[in-house]
Amino acid sequence: MDAIKRFKPKFYAWGAACALAMLLAPAQAATPRDTLVIAREISAIADWDPAVSQILDTQEINSDMYERLVGYDPRKAGSPLAGIIAESWVMTPDGKQFTFRIRKGVKFHSGNPLTAEDVAYTFKRIISLDREPSTNLRQIGITKENVDNFARAFGDDLFVLSLPDAYATTYILNLLTSAYFGIVDKKLLEANAQGGDYGSKWLSRRTGQEPSAGSGPYRITNFRASDTLILERNDAYWRFKSPLRRVIFRHIPESGAQRLLIERGDADMAFNLTAQDIEALQVKPGTKVELFPSRRVLYAGFNTMVKPFDDPRAVKAMKHLMDYQLWEKTLMRHQGTVHQSFIPNGIMGSLKDHPFKYDVARAKELLAEAGLSQGFSFKLNVVNRRPEIDMATSFQASAALAGVKVEVVMMPPSQLIPMYRDRKVDALMLSFYTPYGDPHATANKFAYSPGGMPGAKPGESYPSELTWRLGWTPTDLSVKVIAATKESDPKKRTALYADIQRQYWESSPFAQTFQAVQAIGMRGNVENYRYGSKGGDTSFAFTSKKNLP
């Protein structure tokens, strides 16, 4: 009793101190109104050269630094493809030549005028640097040898792209919206070139100290890898004045920390939130979550060189053992929607059908037809992250119901990719990100096999091709995929892709499962952030923060 009495004053003092401290605590913090602070895992950002980088985060940001001939307008959500640097364009009737009229008066961040020469140089760089992006140009017949003639400037105002073959206009234009084709400042890069590298080494490494080689609404003023990226508005931007003066990316790897930053108002947007954190921000006053279909499609693949997956019925049975509907509600909550077409929603030719449903009885039937009613076992390789791990274990349980024993092997992507390229996986779960908003970008990866084309050398290796990695060489489909790039009527072209996908569903060793959703946690006053499923349509150039009362 005595002790409690003596203790009481202390208790009150402590309480008062706490209350005082709470009063002294800074009021709800808020970022400056002309500054957007983005909490995001940005450790993948390294190589800034648009003709080299295959990192999605880099491409997204590059889209706001480098402009392309054609693209989308960030001022309006879902705006159609239109000219940006190209004021207009005409095609020859045979479809083999595009003449782009270059907009006058556009200046690079350096002050150099942007001319047709820079456009031609951009094409030459991509093909000469010969990294992943160059494949896209080679597919339309541009090579190191012919690029000087086929991608050519006439004076300052005309850029002519000639093609050895006629391709669908939609295909060519969609391809040119990709971040790879961001137009670079020729004079600046030539001045910084080392040993004929087209300034790539110099452009790859950005600290913010060196001059910027783009002409877009933003430029980098400070970059420290895995730490901070600051972009400053280009006040001389010709198209519009971006509402935000500064955009700051802070490397915050952890979802919980991102959520706390948003709740406190120290960040305006968060990109890597788990389902729990998304739900917390959805109900919290002053914060919101916007969901965008992304360009990433998750898929499973089965190696047709491994028994019993050489039998399409066995693969089909596997596709019926995945509980798509349940997964959508549970482990893919806020992260994706069921999607079985290889073309993401929002891109020409995408199908909304779901031919594969969870159906153990049907799977058993198919296995019996393939003479596998005794069951079999195989290894399933997945990357060691969610939701892939959860999907694999759920699949493991349902496969067991059909007598199939699945051994789940988890590993980091950096370990799985080499195995995949070496054709050393029985089965795997992975994602594919469409590099530009055209059906060919994915059809070319999933339904086309160079080894399947008539006249292909037998036994040739194509480790860059997903179809080759699973030992699948569909001649008929490959021919159809190439034909679809040449169909100039958009309606007919859409129909061709529908046909390709239906045939693909019957025979392919791939099973597309979900189109990922990018959930972005935001402060309530953030408006007009664009996140698209085509790549080139992602932009913060017109994002703003409205005044809060």
């Binding site: 295959q54 990294r131 890898a225 700051i248 952890e254 930053l261 709740e263 980091p412 990719i417 480790p463």
Partner: protein, 339 residues
């Protein structure tokens, strides 16, 4: 004679160190090359064609035999050139000069907090062994030792950053102070002091305090447990009975007699704990978005960015060698027998 002996000793030390380092580097190098991770793909993308792959491999010098690669690597290393990190595109030395001071700052504060709380707590627990104080301390240290770092970090942030607003959020400094303090030492607190920028200093302190407490709690818990057991060993010795018979007070017995005799063990534990913190606490760095060595090395390892891994390993090796030498010096001071 004596001088000659010490010169021989000096050379032996350099030889030993060189040998240790070579072993460490060779092992790291080999592990990096045997790992089933392909640096070419990590650097240049998964969908390279065969020809592109060969060219990138050549650019990275990975087309050479292992021995040649290792030889080149050692040759460069002797000139303190760790090469380039292909992930960040920077020279590894530049990267390390950026991330290591962040870790040093955090680890030093962490170990200071840990030692200030942990060592006295350990002494008290040993002296009051078996009482409720001992039980409570044991509980607290056990929690500190076993609580998941992720949870601990997030809870600290939830309470002191979001709810109370006493501390700053993740990262090393707030955006408002970005670029305000020129980098001199890389230790942000020190740089703010040198600049005399008190607002920036307060902000930097607000950022470092939570991760430091989070690390310090773990380190303190460990130090407390070790201190307790070292002290118990000393307290049960016969010289303690002698001291008590001579009429020494408890305080004198503990602080004057028992504690100095734990000195050597305590220093070893302290140095090892500090060394471990200096390696970079990956989880703490991740939760608090602290751009330190732990995050840097982990990412490099998962992508087989061997130049970065080896650069980091070299620095960590150096840290342990230096700490080892320092604790050797301290032993000689503390233990008359080793003089």
């Amino acid at each position: 004679m004596n001088q000659a002996a010490s010169r021989v000793g000096g050379w032996k030390l350099v030889g030993d160190l060189g040998f240790t380092f070579m072993g460490l580097l060779a092992a790291t190098f080999l592990i990096g090359r045997i790992m089933p991770i392909d640096p070419v793909l990590a650097a240049a993308g998964a969908d390279l064609t065969t020809a592109q792959y060969a060219r990138v491999a050549a650019e990275l010098g990975l087309d050479q035999p292992l021995l040649v690669q290792f030889g080149r690597f050692v040759l460069r290393l002797v000139q303190f050139d760790f090469g380039q990190s292909f992930l960040s595109g920077n020279p590894v030395s530049v990267d390390i000069a950026r991330v290591f001071p962040a870790t040093v700052e955090l680890a030093t504060l962490g170990i200071l907090i840990g030692a200030t709380i942990g060592i006295p707590a350990g002494i008290v627990a040993a002296v009051m062994r078996g009482t409720w104080v001992d039980a409570v301390l044991r509980c607290i240290t056990l929690i500190g030792y076993s609580m998941p770092v992720f949870w601990k970090g997030l809870m600290l942030m939830l309470v002191f950053y979001v709810m109370l607003g006493w501390a700053e959020g993740p990262g090393r400094q707030s955006i408002a102070f970005e670029g305000q303090v020129p980098t001199v030492t890389g230790l942000l607190l020190v740089d703010c002091l040198l600049q005399g920028d008190w607002d920036a200093l307060r902000d930097a302190w607000g950022h470092v305090v939570l991760p430091a407490v989070s690390l310090g709690y773990g380190a303190g818990a460990y130090l407390a447990r070790m201190t307790r057991s070292f002290m118990l060993e000393q307290l049960s010795q016969e010289y303690m009975i002698t001291a008590s018979v001579k009429g020494a007070s408890t305080t004198r017995m503990v602080l004057r007699h028992a504690l100095p005799n734990c000195g050597v063990q305590l220093i070893t534990t302290f140095a090892l704990t500090y060394g471990l913190l200096l390696e970079g606490a990956v989880l703490t760095e991740t939760v608090f978005a602290w751009p330190g060595l732990g995050q840097y090395m982990t990412k490099a390892m998962f992508n087989a960015d061997m130049n970065a891994v080896i650069g980091g390993t070299f620095v960590i090796g150096m840290v342990f060698v230096i700490l080892n030498q320092l604790s050797d010096l301290a032993y000689r001071r503390l233990d008359p027998r080793s003089q």
